[in-house]
Amino acid sequence: MEKLEMNDIAKETIEILNLFNPSFTAKISTKFLKYLNKLAENSTKTVSIAKNKKLKEQYISDESKDLISIIYYNYIATDEEKRKIIKIWKNNDILYEKKIMEKYNPNNIFETRKVQEEKGVSRQKSSGSNTKEKYDR
């Protein structure tokens, strides 16, 4: 997903909020909505929402999903839900960091090489050739 400017995020979020049950948006601070609308004024982004899809399945930016989550956290969530939400966000971060570490850890490159070399050694041993000579060159 492309990275968006704040104006575009605001515009996308406002457009989505317009499609929420008014009982939800009524709980959001009017001042905050006013700020968002002001930011959205400078955006030329066109937002298209599929009526037959859930919010989770809509093709919207991650930033707009983040903003809707912030809104939910601040204005709707109960204290218990807030604790749960923070825990989930922190866990998601840890999982993401883990994934990045696995993917880009330079030690894994040497680990893969070492495994390949060991496989090469065991294959050659079973075929009876002198592997020591090969790697001592």
């Binding site: 995020i9 066109t46 999903k65 983040d66 809707i68 966000w89 998601n92």
Partner: protein, 290 residues
């Protein structure tokens, strides 16, 4: 040379920044991601739709590219719109539509690209249509639809992701109604949608049919409207409930929200609001970190 120049600039900026995270973010935004609208417009004028282009023009465009993204865009447009490069690719199949315009399949044949070629409706009044087939990717250029619409299709095991670029806004109302339309500027319109591999051919043809041609142009009204670029709103009945927001907030795994990104967004909101010179409550847009 230009790539060397850009990379040298990036290296310098990184050294000066001492690798502080906020500064790295700004370097990334500026040196990697930024796209100047003027450059997009220039590339479009000089490349799109198999406009004549020599290597001097290409060099000129490359020299104007200041970020990695701009350089990629220039090179991509050059390659995709270059008739000579196109003609050097192997032709797999060729046919003509009802108005005698060619539909040509190039590249490395795959099951799905063959299906798209075979099922491409002959009665669809497009100009020359090129389908370039690669392993897990298909590029299409369809003339006379939005002048010379390009489509970039990525095919994975379960889904196909279609990105499109329409360089000429023949009819703004029609463009606004296109599936997955994302951004409309004076430089053109872009959008994307996803579909299954099975539904890809039919969804593509349905989409192409909706893209306006020059015959659909309503210039006088559109010129005035272009200055305002009205929003699309679907302000009829509401379709989302509180549960939908809760679901998004509590999503776990790789698609879920992350605390670092939330904090970055809060900072962005704060700066944006301060820049707009409004004094408001400090609690808006903030979360309490427990």
């Amino acid at each position: 040379m230009q790539l060397k120049h850009i990379l040298h600039g990036i290296r310098e900026a990184l050294l000066i920044s001492h690798y502080e995270s906020g500064k790295i973010q700004r370097i990334y935004d500026k040196e990697f991601c930024s796209m100047n609208e003027k450059l997009i417009e220039t590339v479009k004028d000089q490349c799109v739709g198999y406009t004549f282009m020599d290597t001097q023009t290409l060099q000129g465009l490359i020299n104007k590219s200041k970020s990695i993204n701009e350089l990629l865009h220039t090179m991509h447009s050059y390659i995709v719109n270059n008739k000579e490069i196109m003609q050097s690719m192997p032709i797999l199949a060729k046919k003509e539509n009802a108005i005698k315009e060619p539909i040509v399949l190039y590249g490395e044949q795959t099951k799905i690209s063959k299906k798209i070629f075979d099922e491409f409706p002959l009665e669809l009044d497009c100009g020359a249509t090129d389908i370039i087939s690669m392993h897990e990717k298909i590029l299409m250029m369809i003339r006379d639809r939005g002048h010379a619409m390009t489509m970039d299709i990525d095919i994975t095991q379960d889904k196909s992701f279609v990105k499109y670029f329409i360089p000429k806004l023949c009819n703004l109302s029609m463009i606004q109604k296109l599936q997955g339309i994302n951004k409309i500027t004076k430089a053109g319109a872009t959008g994307r949608f996803e579909t299954t591999e099975e539904e890809l051919p039919q969804n593509l043809f349905n989409f192409i049919e909706m893209v306006p041609t020059d015959f659909d142009a309503v210039w006088e009204n559109d010129e005035k409207r272009m200055n305002h670029l009205p929003n699309i709103t679907h302000k009829q009945d509401y379709i989302f409930e509180e549960e939908d927001a809760k679901e998004i907030s509590m999503e776990t795994g790789k698609n879920g929200r992350r605390i670092t990104k939330i904090k970055q967004l809060q900072q962005k909101i704060k700066e944006a609001i301060e820049n707009s010179k409004e004094i408001g409550e400090n609690n808006d847009g903030e979360t309490r970190d427990e």
